[in-house]
Amino acid sequence: MLRVKGVSVRYGSVQVLRRVSFHVAENEIVALIGANGAGKSTLLRALSGINRPFEGEILFRGEPLLKVSPERIVRMGLVQVPEARQLFPNMTVLENLELGGYLYGLKHVRAKLAEIYELFPVLMERSRQKAGTLSGGEQQMLSIGRALMARPRLLVLDEPSMGLAPLIVEEIYRTIEALHREGTTVLLVEQNAMGALAVAERGYVLETGRIVLSGRADELMEHDDVQRAYLGKDYEYKWER
């Protein structure tokens, strides 16, 4: 569904991504992990049309994304759940959700709302509360719900576990798994490697702007190189045992 080929992104004279390639097929749940500074947020910004790559291609459902406006990208079905939630704190839960369905009509919004409430009952309870008053985990759920309102074909989550307590993170991941089971294709971008790999089927490891490892998620969890991507080499000589 999503094919990224040889994408490189620069900020001024600083090159942040160096020929990154990966793909997400229909109904897959793929994790993209990497340390801070690896280039994850830049990659997501390239996907949503905010930072254009200067080389490479991005194809979403067969269509090239490079010259498409961010709004149209969402309309095509590539919806992101941004890092640190980014809700509208002074609007209610309901209003936030409605805004998620902005591109579609009212009828759709009502129908979708019912689905979201079923998935996240707590949001229904608090639908009239201001979003800023919710707990971290609830905010994350609202953020996901809001993204779901836009009828995503591919749901991209940017560090959903950031700043949340481990138990809440568990819940969020379980929700993501549930979404996947119901047929949503998911791209999960995380710093928390182990957590993300436990949820995903396949993974890619990003290190200073490059993909250095990819494969099945369960294999990656055991792989030495994942640790090396975060903490650097743990050996000096090849003959070390």
């Binding site: 004279s13 942040v16 340390a35 700043g163 710093q191 182990m194 957590g195 436990a198 975060y230 080499k233």
Partner: protein, 614 residues
Amino acid sequence: MNPIIVPRQWRALLPLAVVLWGLPLVMRNDYLLLLCNVMALNAMVVLGLNLLIASTGQVSLGHAAFYGLGAYLSAIASTTWQWPLFAALAFAAASVAVIAFLLALPTLKLEGHYLVMATLGFNIIVFICFNQMESVTGGPSGFSGIPRLALGSFALNTDLRFYVFIWTLFLVAFALTLNLLDSRLGRALKAIHQKELTAEVLGIPARRYKIVTFVLSTVYAAVAGFSYAHYVTFISPKTFDIFYSVQIVTMVAVGGMGSLWGGLAGTILLTALPELLHHFEDLHVLLYGLILMGVLVFCPQGLLPALKSLLSARLKTGGTAILRPAGMDRPPGSVGAGRGRNVSAPFPAGHPAGTGMQGDLPALKLSDISLDFGGLQALNQVGFDIPGGRVVALIGPNGAGKTTLLNVVSGLLRPRNGQILLRDRSLIGKSPCLVAREGIGRTFQAVQIFQDFTVLDNLLLGYHLQGHAGFLAGYLHTRAERREEAVLRDRALEHLDDFGLAEKAHSPAQQLSLLEQKLLELARALALSPSILLLDEPVGGLNPLESEVLVETISSLRERGIGVLLVEHDMNVVMQLSDRIEVLQHGNRIASGPPREIRQDPRVIAAYLGTRRR
């Protein structure tokens, strides 16, 4: 060598002077002479305003008030109190300076455009005062009977005589201001305008300079006001309303914000314009607005800069396209041939060591530092040492508080608790420029190079603290000031040579590649002769070869006894460079030790990768 006062740009000033002095010879029309006199007065005020903008980037919408105060105060002094003219001038200028100082003190502390609001309000208040304080100012009907300007017994009672006086005065002021902006202080002022925080971190006392420049700019207006009052001999509040402030600002904006020559051009253009628009009477306000909008939309930098950029060659940013060392030419058409890689490894040799090299190695001791951002605890009782001649790396996952800690040490943030000791001197609570003076240098994650300056000028900013020429010396371009500048230049050039940047000394900094910019930033920080260097993600954005060069350079700093605190994401660089690693997570220090240990520490691994579920 030029005599004092004469600015570097005297060659450009000379024709201007000739034209100005020669103009009345060809002008027969008295009315035009009057117009030119008005132009000169405006030019004075604009000059002062431009100085303010060039150095703080802040705009004053109240210079009409200072103009008016200059006029009214000297009028009152000379007429009501019967003081001699020079006394009245001194009184007016001094009072305006004091008032400006009191106005600037609270407002310039704040970030953002509070000065504009304050001066706007001030202008209105002063205008109201002029109108209401009838007994003193004569109220709306004005103040008459002001004695004419006279130099001793020679009265300037014709338009022509005043013309010569005011334009000469302007030329002198212009020359002096050019000198100031050219000097060490001028450099510092321009830096404050572009990146105030970076300037502070280089030891430049930004707030102090901003206040001084504001006061100076009002003095120009006061002197103009004095000249005006004793020329027309009758003044009324109407002249000094908000609209005049806006006019002045428009002249500046149209000509070129912060450009002295541009200000002059703008003044000439916009003073002559109303005369041309005379037919449109009431519409000329509308037209002013339209012109201002038009200029800001199409030539946002002003007319003169737009003209300059059209004429001169366009400058490109450096990017990664840079020279390859001779003899290593790639086969044409091979991959990567389009992107060169800079491998010249500048090895800064023999640069005078920082003041840290004194007997036993000095240390930076951090203890118990805590800081909150609202409800979020950014740092919690963090403390450790940085010995001289060692590299300590600060690592931790996203949001751990690393840059926050660097900002605390730099003086950009004030912690709730804790102590920072540099060789037994406490740095807690000191402003960034004081911290820099104590000997702490810093580089930033996003390279803070002044793009419009040349490479040499960028480096010279680092040498600011080593110079002592003040505002007066700057204005007068004294011999001492020139000598000091030459010495600093030589020192800077040598330093550039150490870093392999000597050939580019006079190129605009934006033409440098990223690696060269980072080296320049490092060289600039080293110019402070620091005992401690704070480096924030130095290798970010560099390719592996460039990275190696920078790492080697940083490593060599140890030999000079400089202690380095390094925040970096690239773990291989961290492991390679550091003598010790401190690990932060959620604002807490969770581990500390040599690289090998830290690499295997399960707490550190868990902090970065998370723990397995189920």
